[in-house]
């Protein structure tokens, strides 16, 4: 792949995507059913939905780590077959190599793409600085706080200048303040390179504050319930403040009404399961 391809944001299209898994007991489990979803090139799409509705599965299929049982996933017009080129993935858990330094971890992307080590390192140094970790290049992940590790992950994800950025509850494990800071940084960095983003989260406020488009998913088997366009102007500024704007509150009301039904349904389902 050439870097020019990687730099152009790509449109993501899922059409009629269904994913079934074989459970250990031998029965079929449908995680996703007939998903239709389109994310425009350079758009920030947040996906919210109750636990276990297949949000993460959607991401792994866009990345090409997994295949749909039926339906197709297209990225930039091409059907995903194998690992999707120009993709970066930020996982909920840390995906940093504990035996590599901060610099080594950030440099992995270019190194894997065959960039000479020297150049990879100088690019990594630049990205480490851009996420505010200058001076921590030689530290190992276990010497960093949770928020700092997330910054490293963010730098490692963005260094390849991806056309698609997939984020699976990346800030889920952080405390509220750190989460707000990281969200601001993410927005700032995203506005510089503008990859297409699918951002999975539990947190509706986070979703509205960050995204152009919020997708609400139904409880399992997951499918798209509704898509809301977020017409808050960009650049958004601090996510802590935007939530007090009247348009934000309005959108939040609207989407929460839709999401609540699903969350309650999911809760009733698990409660039932516990009783039986």
């Amino acid at each position: 792949m050439t870097s020019t391809v990687a730099r152009r944001p790509a449109q993501i299209e899922l059409s009629g995507v269904t994913k079934r898994f074989l459970t250990p007991s031998g029965s079929m489990f449908t995680a996703l059913r007939a998903i239709d979803l389109a994310v425009g090139a350079g758009k920030f799409c947040a996906v919210v939905g109750p636990t276990g509705c297949g949000k993460s599965t959607t991401l792994t299929m866009v990345a090409g780590l997994d295949r749909p049982s039926t339906g197709t996933v297209r990225v930039g017009g091409q059907v995903v077959d194998g690992i999707t080129a120009g993709t970066s993935f930020m996982f909920q858990a840390d995906a940093l190599m504990p035996w590599k330094t901060v610099l080594g971890n950030v440099a992995l992307g270019p190194v894997f793409r065959g960039v000479p080590k020297k150049e990879a390192q100088s690019r990594a140094r630049d990205w480490v600085r851009r996420v505010g970790l200058a001076g921590f290049e030689e530290h190992h992940p276990h010497q960093l706080s949770g928020g700092m590790r997330k910054r490293v992950s963010l730098a490692a994800a963005l260094i390849n200048e991806p056309s698609i950025l997939l984020m699976d509850e990346p800030f889920g494990a952080l405390d509220v303040q750190t989460k707000a800071i990281m969200s601001n940084e993410l927005l700032g960095l995203w506005e510089q390179t503008r990859p297409s983003v699918i951002f999975v989260t539990h947190d509706l406020e986070e979703a509205i504050a960050l995204a152009d488009q919020v997708v609400v998913m139904t409880t399992g088997p997951g499918t798209v319930k509704a898509v809301y366009d977020i017409d808050l102007p960009r650049p958004r500024g601090a996510v802590q403040e935007i939530r007090f704007e009247s348009r934000f509150v309005e959108l939040h009301h609207q989407i929460w009404a839709s999401l609540r039904e699903e969350v309650e349904a999911a809760y009733a389902l698990t409660a039932q399961g516990r009783r039986s």
Binding site: A63, F91, W99, L108, F112
Partner: protein
């Protein structure tokens, strides 16, 4: 920090002085504890060796069967001055050491290679797993007889036996280590565009290294056992042969003296492996390194 609490109100202010004197106190306690541990270690040694010497001198324990510390020292002294029946003691030590190290190296290399390969290719590991289980269930030390017959009295038979013993321990650890690699790390590397080789080099092997190195401690002990047993079964020199001769001559002091030499060898190797471990695994949190060094 246990500064005097409640000074002049509900909030206790911990001054830098209190902090500093606390540090001194903590350090002092740590040093005293260390000294105590060493004193107790020395006492244990004196009680065991001294008791052994006393009991055998008082003829409560028969020194003809159980040896005597002073006799062991005399035996070591005799070996150093006059050599053994098969040449100088240093030659015997060198022979055994060479066999153990060669067996160790071959066993570790093959164990790591096969473990990493089988760990990554699920198909092969499924095909081979019943045979590996059978091979593991066999008492492999018996292979020593086979090797002695097939490879003769030279060094090859001992090296082979040591290598086989080492191989299985290292292999199982490498295999397990590869299987335990964090899925997230693998997926992340794949998405970032890593080839299969790059994943092995940057993710799988470093991750399995913790497991592999943990196995090396046990493995070197097994390499020495392999070399000694091989020499027992038939050899022209080596510490195993020295032990076998001492046994045939009803010389328990000779057996103990050789045991002592082997223990020194094993401890030296253990120290070197510990150094290697600290070098290769320096990225781990310090608590783990301390725990493994203790």
């Amino acid at each position: 920090m246990s500064g005097p609490a409640g000074r002049g109100g509900a909030i206790s202010v911990i001054s830098p002085q209190t902090d500093a004197s606390d540090t001194v106190g903590v350090r002092h306690a740590a040093r005293r504890r260390k000294a105590l541990v060493w004193a107790a270690r020395l006492a244990t040694l004196i009680v065991v060796i001294g008791g052994w010497q006393l009991l055998t001198s008082a003829k409560i324990v028969d020194r003809f069967f159980w040896g005597q510390p002073s006799g062991i020292v005399a035996q070591l002294n005799d070996w150093v001055r006059h050599g053994t029946a098969y040449g100088s003691i240093w030659l015997q030590i060198w022979t055994t050491f060479k066999e153990a190290v060669l067996g160790f190296v071959f066993g570790v290399i093959t164990g790591v290679i096969v473990g990493v390969l089988l760990g990554q290719f699920r198909f092969f590991s499924e095909v081979l797993s019943p045979y590996i289980k059978v091979a593991n269930a066999i008492p492999r030390i018996v292979l020593g007889s086979l090797f002695t017959v097939a490879l003769g009295l030279g060094i090859a038979a001992k090296v082979s036996l040591a290598a086989v013993l080492v191989f299985f321990v290292v292999f199982f650890n490498a295999f397990q280590g590869v299987r335990e690699v964090d899925r997230n790390l693998l997926n992340n590397a794949r998405v970032l565009g890593a080839s299969r080789g790059a994943i092995t080099r940057h993710v799988v092997i470093p991750s399995a290294l913790t497991w592999i190195i943990a196995s090396l401690h046990v493995a070197f002990g097994l390499a020495i056992i392999g070399a000694i047993v091989g020499e027992f079964l038939g050899a022209q020199r080596g510490l195993g042969l020295v032990i076998a001769t001492a046994q045939n001559n009803f010389n328990p002091n000779g057996v103990f003296a050789a045991m002592f030499i082997i223990a020194v060898l094993a401890l030296t190797a253990e120290g070197l492996i510990g150094l290697l471990e600290r070098r290769l695994l320096s990225w781990r949190p310090p608590s783990q390194i301390e725990a493994s060094a203790a």
